[in-house]
């Protein structure tokens, strides 16, 4: 296969350039002095200062962070339960259906999820009077639902690739199912849960479509504010915001990868 090496490396290299060039361009432009985004006017931090003075963006960022934190936490709990049930419990009626409900949200077009949840919330409000109006609560429910699926898949695949002998040993030594879960299984999958939490956090922070459907007036999340600004064209402030978000996400991802690598010692031989 040696004669393939060069062609392969070139085409893969092209792919990586394709993946990173827009992101790098965005970061570089965020330090551009000029107001005209694409005309270079020298290095400057002025758009970062401008960004932090923008109350609309700052309050939307706060709303988004709050929602992301709550949704990711709820999704981590529910998703871990779902992933555990799917991989560690014997077949029961409805397991196939559950597997479908866990995987389908991963690919469901967001417009469908958003519309269907909004119509559900409206119907629920008419019938039970809850949730009264739409806002943070409805966004949290919506985000928890699609993030749950991601956590479940991560946890399920970790459990599937994990060595079962430790759990079997605890079982032989007489551990009750509940203590087996909390003393053995949970610590072993905690890195997967953590990375599922991080993934949920970033997905919730990023969601535009679903949040637009299920949010109420005065509850704009950060992506909604970004979208309304970006629709009108490229702005230097958004470049600065994007750079900060990319930086934060990169740190989180690298941390998650390091954590996941440490977990390899539990892998099946």
């Amino acid at each position: 296969m040696k004669q393939h090496s060069l062609a392969l490396k070139l085409s893969a290299g092209f792919g990586f350039v394709f993946l990173y060039a827009p992101i790098i361009a965005l970061i570089v432009y965020s330090f551009n002095e000029s107001k005209l985004v694409t005309v270079w006017g020298g290095w400057s931090l002025k758009w970062y200062a401008e960004l932090f003075r923008n109350d609309q963006i700052m309050s939307a960022a706060w709303v988004s962070l709050k929602i992301a934190f709550i949704s990711a936490t709820l999704a981590a709990v529910l998703g871990t339960l779902a992933g555990f049930v799917l991989s560690r419990m014997r077949r029961f009626r409805g397991k196939t259906i559950m597997a479908g409900w866990v995987t389908a949200p991963l690919v469901m077009p967001e417009v469908i999820t958003g519309l269907s949840l909004l119509l559900l919330f409206v119907a629920m409000e008419n019938m039970f009077g809850w949730p009264a109006g739409r806002g943070t609560t409805t966004i949290v429910i919506a985000h928890t639902t699609f993030c749950l699926a991601y956590v479940a898949v991560v946890v399920q695949s970790r459990l599937a690739s994990m060595d079962e002998t430790l759990e079997e040993a605890a079982m032989d030594l007489g551990a009750k199912p509940v203590s087996l879960f909390f003393l053995i299984t949970l610590p072993m999958i905690s890195p997967a849960i953590l990375s599922g939490w991080l993934l949920s956090f970033t997905l919730s922070l990023d969601d535009l479509v679903i949040a637009s459907f299920v949010s109420g007036p005065g509850n704009s999340t950060l992506p909604m504010v970004i979208f309304s600004k970006v629709r009108l064209g490229v702005t230097p402030e958004i470049n600065a915001l994007a750079t900060l978000m990319i930086l934060i996400v990169s740190i989180a991802v690298i941390a998650a990868i390091v954590i996941m690598r440490r977990q390899n010692r539990f892998q099946k031989p």
Binding site: G15, I23, P105, I112, T202, S250
Partner: protein
Amino acid sequence: MMTPPASVEAPRPTLIQRFHRLSLGRWLVILIPMLWLAAFFFIPFLVVFKISLSEAMIAVPPYSPLLEWDPDSAFATLRVTFGNYLFLFESRFYLDAYLSSLRIAAVSTFFTLLIGFPIAYLIARSGPTSRTVLLSLVILPFWTSFLLRVYAWMALLKKNGLVNDILMSVGLIDEPLQILQTDFAVYLGIVYTYLPFMILPLYTQLEKMDMSLVEAALDLGTKPWRAFCLVTLPLAKPGIIAGCLLVFIPAVGEFVIPSLLGGSDTLMIGRVLWDEFFLNRDWPLASAVAIVMLIVLVGPIMFMRNGNKEAV
């Protein structure tokens, strides 16, 4: 309730699975996520279907009730209309929107595969250290904001953006091209944002592949290209299918990419649904659009689920 066909033997439960046998406490563990998904994933579709059968009207909420109580006779009349669906099929506009979404999603999926395959292959064939680094390089954009990655292309593709600047300074073109707000930009945006979804399942499959099979084919005098087609591709098939579905299904309903990168004539059904809902406030018609989209996608989604069954 679905039961597996008799010919298919259910996998024997593992020791742990037998240990966690089904008692009351365990049903609780099952029911919590199950009820959540039923309430907020499954039932919403029924609500959408119900509303797609009603008529739009100026009210809060803006649709007619399906059951109407008649105070005189104490009977409820069921008012169901298929008018929204008829309207969808009679109007050329919606049909075109569905077809053009499917076309755009299919073409983009093909190019995503074309670009993603060499990357996945290279990662799968690297040593352990460079494999981790390269894999992280693929995962990083996947975690980075989708919206911001689409936005990044707006700055590059503008009339006076970087791409046009480079093309002009190289001398390939004399005046800036209109790239932003074309279908081409939409293809580019989909390929770009969904690329990690293609690479990751491809990598997982290629990593499992036994390279000695390819070596055997080469030793027996097969040309590398034929060895690739006859050995590598068939072995990678599950990964290719998974990757293509992960890109194709969400791309059909894509909203952000056509509205930021596409022109006013870029017709995609996700955008049509959005406009129908937010601009025209026609909730029943938007629901019908969603239900038809769901019917179109249910085949690919079921197909993908079958792939996941092995893991269950």
